[in-house]
Symmetry: C2
Subunit: 199 residues, 2 copies
DNA sequence: CCTACCGATCGGTAGG
DNA sequence: CCTACCGATCGGTAGG
């Protein structure tokens, strides 16, 4: 073999991947650049040829994930489905993301508080906005009598946090399958939204 | 009592209180003993006249909270209520704890991974066991046809994580009242458990 | 990508 | 409860 195959921007991606895994496992603050370097297989100083700072890694992870969710909710908002269908689509996307891109999604959700300004305020605003959009979808469904008369913000709180609980599914030994988990979650979370007359 | 509201070991309690608040806000790893000392109003070195180490503070918080929940589920397990009533009692207790003792309950729930051995394994086992007991209550209800035929472990996952989402209620500005929040959560979380014939 | 190293800060101790 | 200070480790840089 002449040269090991070059992944496009491979080393930086590897750093981000390992960082996500370690930030999830130990938390951002408790992960040192030396730990990370060891996982990547280089010296700590060499990390800085690929990234500018520890915080930049967190910024990349958090905003990548946020953009993905933002793009998805834009799509949902622009279609004309039944409100329950919209919520279901949103939840299935969240669940899939949490299962398939577990490390980075979980880090974005739990460690964003360690961002520095101005990123911290930016992310805070994005998160607030995102929740408001989901609440608006639900409230719209309530107004159109498509959804039971519940408190929209409580519902959003429950749904989003329940989904972040998939973390403990990942950790559990006697796992049900990802598909079963998704369908069980959808059933339990969507059921409370239905009007008694279309249950 | 002869003296009005005299805290006994007052300084240590104050340290634990401030520590819980700071661990919640910034995380265990990102909170320094110097930060904590400043919040308490003494020098960092003086903290060690009241506590043995930073980790001991976390241990105290985590095991205090765990014991509280353990005691409560023992009570529930020893009564003979309808399964749905048992779950509701449990959920209301969790919600109240999360509202009234927010800082320490939230720290116990999020920061226990920073415990050192043997406390880490101990806490891990306690948590696993606690979830199993809740799942058993639900499964028992399913077997007795008191609860719909759902996946018990998914239900536990959703319920417990939804409740830890009360954190974002604390942070929100336009809050609904604590009582409303509790009742909304109970409604949304319990509804999915009911059999269609007693809905 | 490495060796060598920086100043800052960490948790914690000695001694009063 | 304080001053003074410890060794360890942190994120990051210089220079090759």
């Amino acid at each position: 073999m002449n040269k090991p195959q070059r992944k496009k921007a491979g080393k930086k991606d590897l750093i981000l991947l390992k960082a996500a895994a370690m930030f999830r496992e130990k938390g951002f603050a408790a992960t040192s650049m030396r730990d990370l370097a060891e996982a990547v297989g280089i010296e700590a100083a060499s990390l800085y040829n690929h990234i500018r700072s520890k915080n930049e890694i967190l910024e990349t992870i958090c905003f990548d994930v946020a953009n993905r969710f933002h793009t998805h909710i834009e799509e949902i908002d622009s279609n004309h489905d039944h409100a329950i269908k919209k919520v279901e689509t949103l939840l299935r996307f969240h669940i899939k993301q949490m299962i398939e891109n577990f490390e980075e999604v979980h880090v974005a959700d739990r460690e964003w508080r360690h961002l520095e300004e101005p990123y911290l305020s930016n992310m805070q605003a994005q998160r607030r906005n995102y929740r408001k959009r989901i609440a608006a979808i639900i409230q719209d469904g309530i107004n159109k009598k498509q959804i039971a008369n519940i408190d929209a913000s409580t519902s959003v709180l429950i749904m989003l946090h329940a989904i972040s609980g998939i973390e403990s599914w990942h950790r559990s030994k006697a796992k049900i399958s990802a598909e079963e988990l998704e369908n069980n979650m959808i059933r339990l979370l969507i059921d409370g939204l239905r009007n008694s007359d279309n249950k």
